[in-house]
């Protein structure tokens, strides 16, 4: 009976999937119709696509072609990026170029033409026109590694029908807020450890208050938090002695991150040049090996546990991973790949945002006080927040939104157009790489008055019909290829920030000067953020 009860629980989560299967089939049918994303020809900027051979007409007259579009010259791009370390300032260059060349402009990176869009309404047009399996960027190098090792692709690296199938399965598990709320207790357990860790770390400093490089702490929190959800297991990242396997993973993740630029080159360097410049590709493969190994160990461990439980006639209880292993909607290789890619995507992104949040709170004591008062009036000084409390903490939600507006962890996102598109008076042919400039739009005065100011309050609605945001700040993206881990990340951040604000007065450490953002694949703090955590009571 207990097993039945559990199975019913599982089933309740699975049933919608079965109900959706028809839906999915309908969509796949539609998919064949617009399946244009495979092997698109390189875009020639002065050639109109076939069906636009006559002058295409937009709402404001004839459409211009890419040839007419302004943008920096190839030479100036090379100088900017390779000789003036433009890669770390991509977010600022995005802003400068959009001021100079307009809200839609083109750039060339070697053979790659990129059309940048730094206008919220145009971004909305692009995202609303998406087909059933949008494509973000060329993921050839990721795919090549996976083919070489006989591994499957996951949600980041897969395209087309493969992607659609996996997305359809995973979104039914971890995207609905009510499904994700189930993880709140486990995540709260991780927050408890985070608070204890803050106390332990500050105790080591002469002032007894400062946590040095707070991102290092949040990295471990984020890794522990996402692992509880993905692997249904604690990893011990917030313990004094981190288990060896977790340490190895952290090293692989750091290598992946520190070699981000290199791994971009790994994809950019033609295969025939690899014998001459082997390092980028080798490091790329090495860090992926580490990441996959970690996932495989944890997935296999859970699989053998389930097998043992079933053999002993015990009930099988579990969350995401158990459900994936039991229902077999994904193959084991697909589970490895998705666990790997979701873990990769769910650590730095969350930790940088938490770091920026604490930094902004420390810089703005009045704002922090206002949020503190909301937290205490809702929860009192001691109550541990649960997911049901979060709707009553609008400023906590506002804090995360405002942090991501000022420091969108993905300063730009990519799309490859899958059909011809008219945007901003230009005809953009299918197969064009677009860069959606979120950093620029989220700091645009037109969308956000006093855009440079940190005002979490701007996100708080007066009532249910009060419309607050728009496509100017969409840090998790929009639509069917938006961040699959969004609700998990939000839950992790909301629960952690609520407790940190409830328990500590967060202050800037004199050790920290102004910290500026730097692009390193993601928008990262350019220097260590050191903050003081002073007990509230």
């Amino acid at each position: 009976m207990a097993l039945l009860k559990k199975m019913r629980h599982l089933h309740l989560r699975i049933l919608p999937v079965t109900a959706e299967n028809r839906h999915f089939l309908l969509r796949t049918r539609g998919f064949h119709k617009h399946s244009t994303c495979q092997s698109l020809p390189a875009v020639e900027e002065n050639v109109l696509p076939g069906n636009f051979s006559a002058a295409a007409v937009g709402k404001d007259g004839p459409l211009k072609t890419l040839k007419d579009m302004a943008g920096p010259s190839t030479i100036s791009n090379i100088i900017e990026f390779f000789f003036r370390d433009g890669f770390s300032r991509i977010h600022e260059i995005q802003q400068q170029h959009s001021q100079k060349y307009g809200r839609i402009f083109k750039s060339r990176f070697g053979p790659q033409l990129v059309v940048s869009i730094a206008d919220r309404d145009m971004i909305a047009e692009v995202l609303r026109a998406e087909g059933v399996a949008p494509q973000r960027a060329n993921m050839e190098s990721w795919k090549e590694y996976r083919d070489m090792r006989g591994r499957a692709t996951g949600l980041i690296s897969a395209e087309g029908e493969d992607w659609l199938k996996m997305r359809s399965v995973l979104r039914q598990q971890i995207m609905r807020p009510r499904d994700v709320a189930v993880f709140a207790d486990d995540i709260s357990g991780v927050v408890t450890d985070l608070v204890a860790r803050v106390r332990a770390l500050r105790g080591r400093q002469p002032d007894g208050l400062t946590v040095l490089n707070v991102n290092d702490l949040f990295f471990k929190y984020a890794m522990e938090g996402i692992s509880v959800v993905l692997y249904e297991q604690r990893l011990g990242c917030l313990e004094e002695r981190i288990p060896q396997l977790s340490l190895e993973y952290i090293a692989a993740l750091h290598l992946m991150f520190s070699s981000f630029k290199t791994s971009m080159y790994a994809g950019a360097i033609p295969k025939w040049l690899r014998p001459l410049i082997p390092k980028p590709w080798e490091e790329f493969c090495h860090s992926w090996d580490g990441l996959f190994k970690f996932s495989k160990v944890h997935v296999d461990r859970r699989l053998s546990e389930i097998q043992g439980q079933l053999a002993a006639g015990q009930e099988v209880k579990g969350g995401l991973l158990t459900c994936l292993l039991v229902t077999k909607e994904l193959t084991l290789e697909e589970i490895y790949a998705n666990m790997t890619e979701m873990l990769l995507a769910g650590v730095d992104t969350t930790s940088f945002t938490l770091s920026w949040s604490t930094y902004l709170l420390a810089l703005h004591p009045q704002v922090q006080q206002q949020i503190y008062e909301e937290v205490v009036s809702t929860l009192g000084p001691d109550k541990v927040p649960v997911s049901e409390d979060l709707p009553r903490l609008p400023l906590i939600r506002g804090l995360v939104k405002e942090t991501l507006r000022l420091f969108p962890v993905l300063p730009g996102n990519g799309r490859i157009t899958q059909k011809n598109l008219a945007v901003g008076g230009y005809l953009i042919p299918a197969g064009t790489q677009l860069a959606l400039c979120h950093y620029t739009t989220s700091l645009d005065e037109g969308s956000f008055p006093n855009a440079a100011q940190f005002l979490p309050q701007r996100w708080v609605r007066k009532d249910a019909t009060d419309r607050v945001d728009n496509f100017g700040s969409i840090p998790f993206g929009y639509g069917i290829r938006s961040c699959v881990g969004r609700r998990i990340a939000e839950l992790e951040m909301h629960l952690a920030l609520t407790q940190l604000i409830q328990k500590f007065h967060i202050q800037v450490s004199p050790l920290t000067e102004e910290v500026r953002a730097k692009t390193h694949g993601l928008l990262t703090p350019g220097a260590p953020i050191n903050v003081r955590f002073v007990d509230r009571q």
């Binding site: 199975m7 109900a19 937009g58 039914q172 053998s304 389930i306 229902t327 084991l332």
Partner: protein, 157 residues
């Protein structure tokens, strides 16, 4: 590979047998519910009115899928609150009696095309007996707008 091992075979068997039980249970409740169906009319983008029946507890997105209503691009994220393509417009009195609206739905509504004061996402509105006979309007889609923008030149795209 462990997927082919006996253990996972057992999982499959156990699951299948229980699914059968639960499925029968669901069919039973569904049969009970069919007497209590709720009538809903959709006014499609071309102004055509389609009247269908849905079960209490089902969302309006479920109804659109189950009844196979042809609304292009509707419910792209399958009700997971990642898009706003199941945006529907209600009469004001109906809108006021719908259940509470979550922050996540409001955030997504902010990104809906053709938003009105009585807009909701179809995936978040569940049928109840008190909604018997309501009419909801499907807003004009971006695709419609684009079509008219392009004029005749691009109709082949």
């Amino acid at each position: 590979m462990p997927t082919d091992s006996t253990g996972s075979h057992i999982i499959r068997m156990v699951l299948e047998s229980h699914f059968l039980v639960i499925r029968q249970f669901c069919c039973y409740t569904r049969a009970l519910r069919s007497e209590n169906k709720v009538t809903v009319s959709f006014i499609n983008r071309d102004g055509e009115k389609v009247t269908v029946k849905g079960s209490p507890g089902d969302s309006l997105l479920d109804v659109v899928i189950e009844q196979d209503l042809d609304i292009d691009g509707f419910g792209a994220c399958e009700g997971t609150l990642a898009c706003s393509t199941c945006h529907l417009i209600f009469d004001e009195d109906v809108f006021n009696q719908l259940g509470p609206i979550t922050d996540e739905e409001m955030d997504m509504l902010d990104l809906a095309y053709g938003l009105t004061d009585t807009s909701r996402l179809g995936c978040q509105v569940c049928l109840t007996k008190s909604l018997e006979g309501i009419t909801v309007r499907v807003p004009e889609s971006v695709a419609d707008m684009r079509e008219s923008d392009f004029g005749t030149t691009s109709s082949s795209s």
